[in-house]
């Protein structure tokens, strides 16, 4: 069908068109600028819903594929190849969902609205591009392009130490990903300089048409892995994250936590595992160890934060540790759980940042000690915060539970010890979240400045209601989402099993 083929390209073009529209609106017309941005991002979201309805969950290959030559001259062949499968489908939807939410949450931005909205739309193009690209160069282009608007969003509209945070964010991510560029180029020559096509290279690697020496395979894996580990961020590459999250404006934090971190995970699932399964299996214990350190370390550091926004930032490190752990447990439950948990984390942590932003707009502080007893003056806010905090902890019935449960179940099957350590992270997450909730919302109102705080207004409720509905839906009826992922996740698992089986037999034979 012709319509569905161009759907993904349309998702890139609509925000791009929005960005160019914004560029032509005079910068004084703040309302028009906001309206334009909201219109185009919402339109993108509605368009992306067509993907869900047309998605065929039985097919394990890419869907909505569009594959045309970008340029093919002088021995360099790059294609514009886009498509999605069950893993990227919901990441695209998550992106298109969170961007309009982030735009709505940016109503409090009064200065330089024009460039803000411009960068917001540009960022959306980059983020969607990353999830749909199936050509390595195209992927890399989007991967890097997206840094520029994010860098400006943090650097211009951020908090006090915004410049430091913006530069650190940029340099860390860029340094990580440049080695990936080297790896991409060398894969091209391993592919006999034919193309940079991800699907084709993955297929050739698994069928043995491209044979890599163990050393080459390991180096290539590490080059990709480093780029993704910085983005996730996996301990010990996480140091940019607290700075960037805390200094970014609310919408920036939402998109950083909601989407950008997912790109790292997505990269692991899409590149590292299918292309280099053998090395992935070899290095899984080490990576899992880092993930577990991240889970516990992130949670412990989150516990002692005096600043709510920092607390949420460190909780991200902990949550993403779970996701990485799930991926490197290599079974169906764990990988499906990890994929699902990515979405959950995007929803709940995104919402937490939104909530923190709302209180910041009123009080211009995120310090826990400045609050206390807020539930008395802002009951509605407190209720929303409770639901989201519980979803982040992983209370059954809300979204976080399903993902964490699947990850732990899968990890337990692979290695009980890892699962035991990781489970302590859930306990800790309850500790830091609830303790923070208690200090901020419970007790008596002590600070006089908090006495007259207005409760949520219609715009803020409009932002939060869909998120809460989504959190409940994802928690109560997860099969809407999981069934669409099954085939694609199974494909990744099969790829890993394919290299693991002979090793298991070898161990058995040597035992006799």
């Amino acid at each position: 069908m012709l319509e569905t083929e161009v759907l993904l390209t349309a998702l890139l073009l609509i925000p791009a068109a929005g960005a160019s529209m914004v560029a032509f609106v005079p910068s004084r017309k703040i309302h028009l600028l906001r309206g334009t941005a909201l219109f185009f991002t919402t339109l993108t979201f509605l368009c992306s819903l067509l993907l869900v309805s047309h998605f065929d969950s039985e097919i394990d290959t890419m869907q909505f594929v569009q594959d045309i030559s970008w340029f093919d001259v002088g021995g360099v062949h790059v294609r514009y190849h886009v498509g999605i499968d069950g893993i990227s489908l919901f990441l695209v939807i998550l992106t298109t969902f969170l961007v309009p939410v982030a735009v709505l949450a940016s109503w409090s931005i009064e200065e330089k609205v024009k460039s803000y909205m411009f960068f917001m739309l540009l960022l959306e193009v980059g983020m969607i591009g990353v999830f749909i690209s199936l050509d390595l160069i195209l992927f890399y282009v989007f991967w890097e392009v997206m840094l520029v608007p994010m860098y400006f969003l943090i650097g211009v509209w951020g908090g006090e130490r915004r410049i430091y945070a913006a530069v650190k964010f940029f340099i860390y991510t860029m340094a990580g990903s440049l080695l990936m560029l080297a790896a991409i180029i060398s894969l091209y020559f391993f592919n006999e300089a034919q193309n940079f096509d991800l699907v084709e290279i993955t297929q050739k690697l698994s069928s043995g048409e491209i044979v890599l020496s163990p050393l080459a395979e390991r180096l290539l894996f590490l080059a990709f892995f480093l780029a993704f580990a910085v983005k996730v961020p996996l301990f010990p590459f996480h140091t940019w994250l607290p700075d960037a999250h805390v200094e970014a404006p609310t919408a920036g934090s939402v998109l950083l936590a909601g989407i950008l971190l997912k790109m790292g995970i997505y990269g692991l699932l899409r590149f590292c595992l299918p292309m280099f399964p053998a090395v992935s299996v070899q290095l899984a214990p080490a990576i899992s160890l880092l993930a577990i350190i991240g889970i516990i370390y992130g949670a412990l550091v989150a516990m002692v934060q005096p600043d709510i926004k920092k607390l949420v930032a460190y909780s991200s490190i902990s949550h993403l540790g779970f996701v990485v752990l799930g991926i490197f447990a290599f079974n169906f439950q764990s990988i499906e759980g990890a994929t699902y948990q990515m979405l959950n984390h995007g929803v709940s942590t995104g919402a937490l940042f939104l909530l923190v932003g709302m209180i910041y707009d009123r009080r211009h502080t995120h310090l826990i000690e400045d609050f206390g007893g807020l539930a008395h003056v802002m009951p509605c806010y407190a209720a929303f915060f409770m639901v989201i905090a519980l979803s982040s902890i992983g209370l059954p019935g809300l979204n976080g539970f399903v993902g964490e449960f699947l990850i732990l179940q899968g990890t337990f099957l692979e290695n009980a010890g890892r699962a035991a350590f990781a489970a302590s992270g859930i306990v800790l997450s309850a500790v830091y979240m609830l303790w923070m909730y208690q200090r901020v919302f419970m007790g008596t109102l002590q600070n006089e400045k908090n006495l007259a705080l207005p409760d949520l207004n219609w715009r803020e409720i409009l932002i939060l209601v869909p998120i809460v509905i989504l959190a409940l839906w994802m928690g109560l009826y997860s099969s809407t989402f999981l069934r669409k992922m099954d085939t694609s996740v199974q494909k990744v698992v099969d790829r890993i099993e394919h290299v693991r089986e002979p090793q298991i037999y070898r161990v058995e034979y040597s035992g006799h």
Partner: protein
Amino acid sequence: MDINYTAVLPEIILSLFGILIMILIPFTPKARQSALGFVALFGMVLALICVSAQCGATGLAFFGMIFQDYFGQFCKILFLFASAAIVLVSINYLEREKLPYGEFFSLLLFATVGMLLMATSADLIMTFLGLEVLSISTYVLAGFKEGEMKSTESALKYFLLGAFSSGFLLYGIAFVYGAAGSTKYLKIAQVIEASENYPPTLFLGLGLMVVGFGFKAALAPFHVWTPDVYEGAPVPITAHLAVGSKAAAFVALVRVLYQVLPELSQHWQAILWVSAVLTMAIGNIAALAQTNIKRMLAYSSIAHAGYLLVGLTAHNRLGAQSILFYLVAYAFMTLGAFAVVQAIGREGEKYIGIDDYSDLGYRYPFLSITLSVFLISLAGIPATGGFMGKLFLFAAAMQSEMYWLVVIAVIASAIGIYYYLRVIVLMYMGESKDEGTPIIVPTPVRIVIAIMVVGTLYLGIFPGTFLHLASEAVSF
């Protein structure tokens, strides 16, 4: 052998216009001297038409001293384009700084003649002549701001070191002549191909020639002059040194190494490998510490010579075409960046500290947005020509299995991002300073900047067109 004047017609036109301008100086009223710039521009456009008409012609011409090939024609168009851009931005610059027009344009035309000769030369003597014509003109141009210490220092340093390096080049040519018995490119290549063991003087000649070209192209460790000269020279001339002069030296080096001495590739690859690493490292690391934008761009231009060397070291077809592609991208972004620097510098080039860029972002959106695009491209971030160029250069090295060189190049680019970003940070996120005199961007400068931005982005999004031309151009 046929003289075939048409092959050197562009050079003849440019020289004639150079002389014509000198004749016109006394006959033009003081107030209308800026018209001489348009005379120079007209000459360049004529030469450009001439080159375009010749496209496709092949063979040797002018007593076997000149190649006619796509490669030469590609480079000639690039050089003429760069020089024309410099003429356009200079007209207002000279007016602002109250410098004489006539001599400036006439020298610039002669410098362009030198560049064109270097791109097409088929004989070492001709290469040397081209280099000297280019150099002597630029020595004068670098010191054009009469009575200003820095400009004079710049010219003197450039002249002394440049003369020295010309000596090296000539000495190298002499050795190669001694070893091969000819100065003709094709003849030398034949002799070397036929001989079993190479005389030691050949290696000596190769080394000395690399030094000579390395100086002009500002390759480490022969780059020491660059920051001082770039800083002191008038901005349009800095742009000329960074783009035209450097590119001409590179193109000549490509010809000498790929066409004359391909047999010795093992040896020169080793030299250039080391030089590439040094050039990228020194350029990027030293640029981090600069507080003056011209010096920063000087070190950045050194770093970019390093990336070009990566492609040169690869010694394959992809490498040669990537160099051409990168030179085009580099010309767009560097000329654009210098045009912005010139506008922001204002009268007397008072505002060339990186601090002076603080908070310009929202006050001068056109200059800031365009400079950001150029810097992002120089940093090698996708959707710009700078990224595509680097991609091709690194791919070429990868193809020759120089993995470590690519890894080092990649790390060097990562360092480079920091100092390019710093300027953008200041422009958009910096504290506001006292405003100083308002910035006026004259229309010709505006046009040049706009063309360069469009070019930079075009190369990043549709690299196919130029890559195709570049791959056609590489016929050897």
